[in-house]
């Protein structure tokens, strides 16, 4: 009887089958009219869904409206976690023209995102350095790195090591370390001086040790191998001898006491407040904080990339575009694409991307760059970005390999590594096992 009642209650149709299947055809490519798409001259309201706490997107829309008065924005903002939860539903039911995207491979294969290939051709995005767009390409099987373009960046960010210049001077560090051994020496010096070398966030559901670990991986091994793993290339594994050396190096920092004792209870905001408050000499973080740090601790912050093992050796950094997509059911896809192109090419927009966003704008390698005060950390991160470009050392974040590899694989195991309940080999094996379950299932 219960089963019968349940069947009546749920009307017997399987979940997820909506009557108007036709509206979300996965491979609809917009038909681009003659000439490049634009916002036209009629009044247009673009529906936008952005991330709270990052003013750059809002500033760009304001500037865009100033330049194209017929276009206004109807913007809704949420925290990134909320965006992640809502992304499929919002893209399907309340399609925005522009949306800040979380990990996007499933969104693309589910047919929720607009294929941007024709826009890329019309605007000439395909002439830009290919590495900029690589992470936003998704193939039929949901693997990133290749296939049609499903999103665009507002800029691309990069991670490395920030340090407090005043505290660094106290421990005799006047210039950035050139090798890992030098960095180890400075960490030890900081500890000996009674300072907290690194108060890296690693608490709750945010395993921030992934930042130094991935950078160490690029110093010990080939960034291309790590990218292959992130893009789910067949046979790729994270459990390699060079990655093991990287994890062992990280563990040596743990056992030497270079991390604050309570890192397993620190969240990202707490890390920032401690660093800004002068309670941590170094932090592993990304250049999205450059603008913020230039305001909060002007002239007192330095930045360097994780140094190579030997001087002149290989190094790398996590570098990812700040991804924005267009819903497959968007009302104004042409205008949204025009906006994305404008962000990468307009001088005013590129200035906002650097000064407010703190990161490198998208676009051609020789495009306009705003003047930046060389004393700022923003200037240093831009220089580092160029170095990474020359090295081909850019990788996506190891936390983005699958939808939940961060929550299920990296975070718990990195927290265990910190607490001495997991060893480097076990860490990599556990993450690889989780990875295989997820992409196999």
């Amino acid at each position: 009887m219960l089963v019968g009642a349940l069947a009546v209650l749920t009307a017997c149709s399987s979940p997820g089958s909506t009557p108007d299947e036709t509206s979300s055809n996965p491979t609809t490519e917009p038909t681009v009219a003659e000439g490049a798409p634009s916002c036209g001259t009629d009044p247009v309201t673009l529906k936008a869904y952005f991330e709270t706490g990052f003013p750059m997107a809002g500033d760009l829309t304001e500037e865009f409206t100033k330049q194209f008065p017929n276009v206004t924005f109807d913007t809704r903002e949420d925290q990134f976690a909320v965006l992640t939860q809502n992304a499929p539903r919002v893209l399907a039911d309340d399609p925005p023209d522009l949306m800040r995207l979380p990990q996007m491979s499933e969104l693309a294969t589910d047919g929720l995102l607009l294929n941007l290939d024709s826009y890329a051709e019309a605007f000439g995005w395909d002439q830009w350095p290919a590495s900029q767009l690589e992470q936003m390409r998704v193939d039929d099987a949901g693997r990133r790195g290749d296939g049609p373009l499903y999103a665009m960046g507002l800029n691309f960010s990069m991670t490395g090591v920030f340090y407090n210049k005043e505290l660094a001077a106290q421990i005799g560090m006047t210039e950035a370390p050139a090798t890992l051994a030098e960095l180890d020496g400075y960490l030890q010096a900081a500890k000996d001086a009674g300072l907290t070398p690194v108060a890296q966030f690693n608490g709750g559901a945010t395993g921030g040790f992934a930042f130094p670990l991935q950078a160490l991986m690029a110093s010990y091994g080939d960034p291309a191998e790590i990218s292959a793993w992130i893009y789910q290339q067949p046979g790729a594994t994270i459990d390699t001898p060079s990655n093991l050396k990287a994890a062992e190096h990280l563990q040596s920092w743990v056992t030497s006491g270079y991390f604050a004792e309570d890192v397993n209870s620190l969240d990202y905001a707490m890390m920032m407040s401690r660093f800004i408050g002068g309670e941590s000499v170094f932090i592993f973080d990304g250049d999205w904080e450059s603008g913020n740090l230039d305001t909060q601790m002007p002239g007192n912050v330095g930045f360097f990339l994780m140094p190579p093992v030997d001087e002149g050796g290989s190094f790398g950094a996590m570098s990812a575009p700040l991804t924005y997509g267009i819903s497959a059911n968007a009302a104004n896809p042409d205008c949204a694409a025009f906006f994305l192109d404008w962000v990468a090419t307009n001088e005013q927009a590129r200035t906002i991307a650097v000064q407010i966003g703190g990161s490198h704008p998208m676009g051609p390698a020789d495009a306009f760059m705003p003047d930046v005060d060389p004393n700022t950390v923003t200037a240093q991160t831009l220089v580092a970005g160029a170095a990474i470009g020359e090295q081909n050392g850019a990788m996506d974040f190891i936390a983005n390999a699958t939808g939940s590899i961060y929550a299920k694989g990296w975070t718990p195991n990195l927290q265990k590594l910190m607490a001495g309940e997991q060893d480097p080999a076990g860490l990599l094996a556990a993450v690889q096992a989780e990875y295989e379950t997820e992409i196999g299932g």
Partner: protein
């Protein structure tokens, strides 16, 4: 016409009235009245029943239905039968979260009920004074604070430089001070303490209300027989409070097994899954891993588990009554 009709109808009325007295007609009239009343009752119940059906029964039924599918929440789903339930038994992380939930029962249930009993008994001692009102209000306050606020507040108190560690350092226990919520050994008990703090007030108030029902004559008689306060508590107070204690235990056990808010705010399941509970796991499965089917299966299993623990408690209560 009308004039001719009128007497006729009245005549019919007269014709029926004599039969009114017969038992059969009385029964019919009664049934009609009952039907009318029943209709009225149904109309009154309908809004509540409809709401209950739409917002409680239907979602539960849907959850049960989803649990048989592999579904990401948006695209068409595939029927997988019992596969989601089978998976529940093979994932050590899932079983670990259930063990954690049972550990939380110690803090969410036993601590508040035992502390509540003694506090209520103490307050009863000076029940008429104004101090009792103040004590009751102060101790009940945590219950009216939103769980999220309680979680945020306590995660500050328990942080490295928070109030808890300040107190320990003040009394010279520097060695004990630590990041309580970030330590593998203390994170779950620390979360439990937050829950105990929240639920203690509720238990205390319920038990205190129960105590006012106890006949004062019983205590008087006991005292004449030479019983001390402990004897009074064990022989009179405790047995008389059986129902209230069962209610307290039921409510708090459900709070422990279905906990979400406090854990989500204070530790998010970390460090290293040491505070992962089924409620949180369901949330992660549904909204981050997009495995709505698997999440629904765990939700149904959790509901069954809660019922399996709570129903025997109710029978215990009923047996006590009869």
């Amino acid at each position: 016409m009308a004039q001719r009709l009128t007497p006729q109808t009245s005549g019919r009325r007269e014709g029926t009235s004599p039969v009114l007295g017969s038992p059969e007609s009385r029964r019919r009239a009664l049934r009609a009245r009952r039907l009318r009343r029943g209709g009225m009752a149904l109309t009154l119940v309908a809004p509540a029943a409809l709401t209950y059906f739409l917002f409680v029964v239907r979602p539960i039924a849907q959850t049960v239905q989803y649990s048989f599918y592999d579904w990401d929440g948006v695209t068409p789903s595939t029927w997988v039968g019992l596969a989601n339930y089978v998976a529940l038994f093979h994932d050590p992380e899932l079983s670990g979260s259930i063990v954690n939930a049972f550990e939380l029962i110690i803090f969410f249930s036993f601590v508040p009920v035992i502390l509540g009993l003694f506090t209520a008994n103490t307050i009863r001692g000076f029940a008429t004074s104004r101090l009792a009102v103040v004590a009751r209000t102060v101790l009940f306050l945590p219950q009216i604070i939103p769980l999220v606020a309680a979680g945020i507040m306590w995660s500050w108190q328990m942080s490295t430089n928070g109030l808890v560690n300040q107190v320990f350092r003040l009394i010279g226990l520097d060695g004990i001070a630590r990041a309580w919520l970030g330590d593998f050994d203390t994170a779950l008990p620390a979360v439990g303490v937050i829950g105990a703090w929240v639920l203690f007030g509720l238990c205390m108030l319920l038990l205190l209300a129960g105590m006012t029902k106890i006949d004062p004559g019983l205590y008087e008689a006991a005292r004449i027989d030479g019983a001390g306060p402990l004897r009074e508590f064990v022989s009179i107070t405790l047995p008389s409070l059986r129902q209230e204690v069962v209610v307290c235990v039921t409510v708090t056990v459900i709070a422990a097994l279905a906990s979400f808010d406090i854990v989500y705010i204070s530790t998010q399941g970390g460090p290293g899954n040491s505070t992962l509970v089924p409620g949180l796991e369901i949330y992660y499965l549904a909204f981050f891993q997009r495995e709505v089917g698997q999440a629904s299966a765990l939700a149904v299993a959790l509901m069954a588990l809660v019922l399996a623990v709570v129903l025997p408690l109710q029978w215990l209560n009923r047996e006590g009554d009869s």
